[in-house]
């Protein structure tokens, strides 16, 4: 096993695929050695990438809850089906909008920051300094961020779902006269566990796309400030693009194939 892991870690080259191979290799290697995965650094990144994104994620989730409830009330009201609004808000958030919008917010906030930070380190020769000190940049810089986001994005998604539901409840309670117990009965008890799990699986996939894209763009920076700017833009654009494509594929897989 050690030989195969060393082979994975020592593959030369700088492509996106190789970055994924190295991440996979380091995480496996980290399971066998205590000094590879540093809990304090992972925790620091969880706070920077995840916890500090809470206010923005909350605001977006709350707004989406409002919007979903208000938009659906105008149409469902015509059919006399306002009682389905909690179900619609809940299912939309859990399956689709929660994971997707939170991921997009985190791309804009933390993905761009990671790409810019690593890119600036590359320009300032800090990445080169790590290599010369025999500290693999992927292990030292990418792995803590990767693990942090793989934990924090699903957490943020669950949190966003709750805040979004609160937004939907606020609209239903204030304008449609819906009782809180009725809202909870429909919004929380009606969806199946798979609806929640499918959203969380999506958020894990989105986290992988987000952080690998951001780190790859940062590590690929050439030149000076313009290179960092380009990498930051590319990180956001490509991450959002691939997240939406992955979302379409996963939705098809979860609800039409399986």
């Amino acid at each position: 096993m050690k030989f195969s892991l060393q082979t994975l870690l020592n593959v030369e080259g700088n492509g996106y695929g190789l970055l994924n191979v190295r991440i996979f290799g380091w995480i496996l290697y980290g399971l066998t050695r205590r000094d590879v995965l540093v809990p304090s650094e992972i925790l620091r990144q969880m706070i920077r990438i995840g916890v500090q994104a809470l206010p923005m994620a909350s605001l977006v989730a709350l707004s989406v809850g409002f919007i979903l409830a208000m938009q659906s009330s105008t149409e469902l009201g015509k059919l006399g089906a306002n009682s389905f609004i909690p179900d619609l808000v809940s299912l939309s958030l859990m399956r689709e909008l929660g994971p997707l919008l939170i991921a997009i917010i985190v791309v804009g906030r933390s993905g761009s920051a990671v790409a810019a930070e690593i890119g600036t380190m590359k320009v300032n020769e800090e990445i080169e300094a790590l290599r010369v000190m025999a500290i693999p940049p992927v292990r030292y810089l990418v792995i803590p961020r990767y693990i942090a986001l793989m934990i924090m994005l699903p957490c943020l998604t669950i949190f966003g779902n709750c805040v979004g539901l609160a937004g939907g409840w606020a609209v239903c309670a204030s304008t449609l006269g819906m009782t809180t117990s009725f809202f909870i009965e429909h919004a929380v008890h009606r969806p199946e566990l798979w609806d929640l799990y499918s959203g969380l699986i999506k958020s894990v996939v989105f986290a992988h796309i987000l952080i690998t894209t951001a780190c790859y763009q940062g590590l690929s920076v050439e030149g000076g400030a313009d290179g960092v700017g380009r990498a930051t833009t590319n990180a956001v654009v490509y991450a959002i693009l691939w997240i939406i494509i992955a979302d379409a594929l996963l939705t098809g897989l979860f609800f039409f194939v399986l």
């Binding site: 300032n124 020769e125 300094a129 290599r131 010369v132 000190m133």
Partner: protein, 281 residues
């Protein structure tokens, strides 16, 4: 991966660094063309040359950051040009690199920068690491600056912190890239003295890349000059500071004296200029 070599078994005892037939070509342009030299234990070997002569390329190859087009670089008897990343990391633990602008981690304090290689590569207690950091800072005259961020100290201080970090693991070999560029004369003398202290007091072998002549002659035990222009990629001269000063090569003498007129071109030749204007060159 090719293993590092039979030479590792019995390296000549005092040769720390050996460069053989080193060639680096960018496109069709040879930047280094058959470079050969050796650095022995305890020497301060200065590599000098004008802008664009390939000093930085040579240094990047020496530290294993770049693979040459051909040729070999043996450090401690092991060929780093064919070493696997794992083998390269093992060799890198035995040398330190002082970057031109320090390459300090901006998100860390000065103390954390120096502590990083110790935390990564030694099993010592954190309190002992803290003590080593203080000792290294004392060595470069920056006692009490542990908690400063790199952005809060001057360029000269950053260079000294870079030197302290490079010396953190007590390397046998120290590479320095333009350690005095951009410094005032007093700070240049301070950094030179630190390099001398490292070699004379600690016994480190130093390879310094510089084009600061005053500094080069102050610290060097041996020097090498890389050519540029018509002599791009070749070694113009190699020897002790006295031999370099006495060498009559006009290319070398122009560089040492810092004269504008001489064989070192700063403009294209008449023929090349004509070709450039006509779009042929």
């Amino acid at each position: 991966m090719k293993s590092t070599t039979s030479t590792s078994k019995n390296p000549p005892s005092d040769i720390i660094l050996e460069v053989k037939n080193l060639v680096q070509v960018y496109g069709k342009r040879p930047v280094l063309n058959g470079i050969n030299f050796q650095v022995r234990k305890g020497e301060t070997f200065v590599i000098m040359g004008g802008s664009g002569c390939g000093k930085t390329t040579l240094l990047r190859i020496l530290i294993g950051a770049q693979r040459p087009t051909s040729g070999s670089v043996h450090i401690f008897g092991e060929d780093i040009t064919t070493a696997s990343p794992q083998e390269l990391d093992r060799i890198r633990l035995r040398f330190g690199m002082n970057f031109q602008f320090g390459a300090l981690f901006q998100s860390m304090t000065v103390g954390e920068n120096i502590a990083l290689p110790l935390q990564e590569h030694s099993q010592v207690d954190p309190s002992l690491i803290e003590m080593v950091v203080k000792m290294k800072l004392e060595l470069v005259g920056l006692t009490g600056f542990e908690n400063f961020k790199p952005s809060e100290i001057s360029g000269g201080m950053r260079k000294r912190v870079g030197l302290a970090r490079a010396l953190a693991l007590d390397p046998e070999l120290l590479f320095s890239d333009e350690p005095t560029s951009g410094l005032d004369p007093v700070m240049t003398a301070v950094v030179d003295q630190l390099t001398l202290d490292s070699t004379r007091k600690i016994g480190v072998t130093a390879v310094v890349v510089s084009h600061d002549m005053t500094s080069c002659f102050r610290i060097a035990t041996r020097m090498l000059m890389l050519g540029s222009g018509s002599r791009q990629g070749e070694i113009v001269a190699e020897g002790t500071p006295a031999e370099i000063k006495a060498n009559p090569d006009p290319f070398l003498q122009q560089f040492i004296r810092g004269e504008a007129d001489g064989p070192i071109p700063f403009r294209l030749s008449q023929d090349d200029y004509l070709k450039h204007l006509l779009g042929d060159g």
